[in-house]
Amino acid sequence: MNTPCYDFFCPVKIVAGVRSLEHLPHELSNLSASRPMIITDIGVRQAGLVDHVTHAFDDSNITIIDIFDDVPPDSSTSLVSHIADRYRQLECDCIIAIGGGSVIDTSKGVNILVSEGGNNVTDYSGVDSLKRPLRPFFVIPTTAGTGSEVTSVAVIADSNSGVKHIFTCSFLLPNVAILDPRMTKTLPPHITAATAIDALTHAIEAFTCMGKNPLSDTYATAAIRKISENILKVMDNPEDELGRLELAQASTMAGIAFSNSMVGLIHALGHSLGVVCHIPHGLCMSIFLPHALEYNLHNGQHQLSELLLPLAGAEVYSRTPTDQRSQAVINFIHDLKDDLFERCQLPRSLSETGKVNKEHFARIVELTVDDAALILNPIEVDRDDAMALLHKAW
């Protein structure tokens, strides 16, 4: 079903390419910012990635005021308050987030507090709670997957109750996102693979779910092409800077696509599996991707066949009969999973993760049917459907 009525919004300036980190001092000056605080995690710092950023400021008149490098994989409200205090004490005037989803979400939370005041970020949770632009905010992703640099959402867990607070507001978007190939070059193979599949899933769900629109479709198909053309090249040659840059751009494009159209069943299942079995998000996506697409296809989903062109290229597309293109998309994804398994042992099924057992299924099913991502899945999914999908993915 094509949706002729839509909103589309992405005000983030994207600075991409070789040596794009060196644009950062100028981007700060553009927004009259001169006292940056870097927020990152220890892994990113130990990989030497923060050094690339600080070196970019060597020949500028801007000094990095502080580097906070202790963001854990799951951020929390108390951490956000703690970092905000530091920012205020040191009189910083902007944030540079360097990292993946958790670092970026934490930084979004910190930016709320340092801009709006207060010590409890949950005061601003929910939809559109912020009414004016926040302080200057720069994001440098170090994984090519989440697309958080272009999404207006942050998820931050409550330190006491563990409840995940969701913040949705366009003012959370950074002013500038920098995609520099140096930042993803050292990403280990299994994370490169899993995050690329996450980006691929964002693009495919953007294109096949009910919020799709002509603008998100354009970003989605372009992202799919870049991912399928580069993922194995980068796996075989991790030093391939240009391939890395293509994946980073694809991740951002897929992020723009899904944040303007939303995701569906694959994310609903993946969120739930992640919560119950503590499996990384990208891996969850990889496990469910072909099965959920097949479920939607067999229950009347139409758009999948069009994705064979960006996914497999013109030659395969033109020699595949029209009525077999949707199935060819699913087969292509199964083959891609096999290729990735061969290269980095990325598990292809729930059983291959070694962390899931069938007793978990009932809980995963309950969380799945309660996941808001199901609203815009084109096909209805009830408890029995979700359970059948888990068995298929076993």
């Binding site: 079903m1 949706t3 009525c5 839509y6 909103d7 929910g126 939809v127 559109d128 969701i166 779910c209 009910m210 919020g211 939303m262 229950n299 969380l367 049917v369 309660d370 996941d371 808001a372 199901l374 609203i375 815009l376 084109p378 096909i379 209805e380």
Partner: protein, 179 residues
């Protein structure tokens, strides 16, 4: 500026919205007392949980609360307290598309015509409850339009549940008028 004719159309539309939303809310409360499936969905919703649905800017709406017996209770057009989940439709014309079954709820979400605030998991549950209700109280053609998938139930089952809902609704109405 609204012309005289527009005013009448608007008043009719808003009246229709208020009636429809009132019927849905009251039927949902009635159904919560007689239907196992709905009771199962509601079993994990916390007591005193309030769901509000409204049409901006406060044109129509309803609020229901889960009471300690596990049933839903009709609170009125507005909750009179802070709702735990609020589903707002941005304009009465957009609400009319939904409640006249020209556009289904999922399409309205997809087209950014609605805003959901609060506990999303509970919102999903309550949306499922409303969908389930619609299967029984709407004519099949309207329900098929309103839902992504019309469930596999027999006409007999549909009539039986519908008459239970209406019976309960009639009792509730008597209680309201007596109160």
């Amino acid at each position: 500026m609204k012309t005289e004719k527009n005013k009448i159309t608007t008043a009719l539309r808003d009246g229709y919205l208020n009636t429809m939303m009132g019927v849905i809310a009251r039927s949902l409360c009635a159904m919560s007392k007689v239907d196992d499936h709905l009771q199962y969905e509601l079993s994990v919703v916390p007591d005193n949980f309030v769901l509000q649905m409204k049409v901006l800017p406060n044109v129509a709406g309803f609020a229901v609360k889960k009471n300690s017996d596990g049933h839903l209770e009709y609170l009125g057009k507005e909750p009179g307290e802070k709702a735990d989940v609020t589903i707002s439709i941005k304009h009465p014309e957009l609400a009319y598309l939904v409640f006249s079954f020209q556009e289904n709820t999922a399409e309205a979400f997809a087209r950014n015509r609605t805003i959901i605030e609060g506990d999303l998991a509970m919102a999903m549950r309550l949306i499922r409850c409303i969908n389930w209700l619609e299967v029984f109280i709407l004519p099949k053609a309207a329900a098929e339009k309103a839902l992504k998938r019309y469930p596999d139930i027999s006409f007999k089952e549909k009539s039986r549940t519908a008459s239970k809902i209406y019976g309960r609704l009639a009792l509730d109405m008597l209680n309201w008028s007596a109160a």
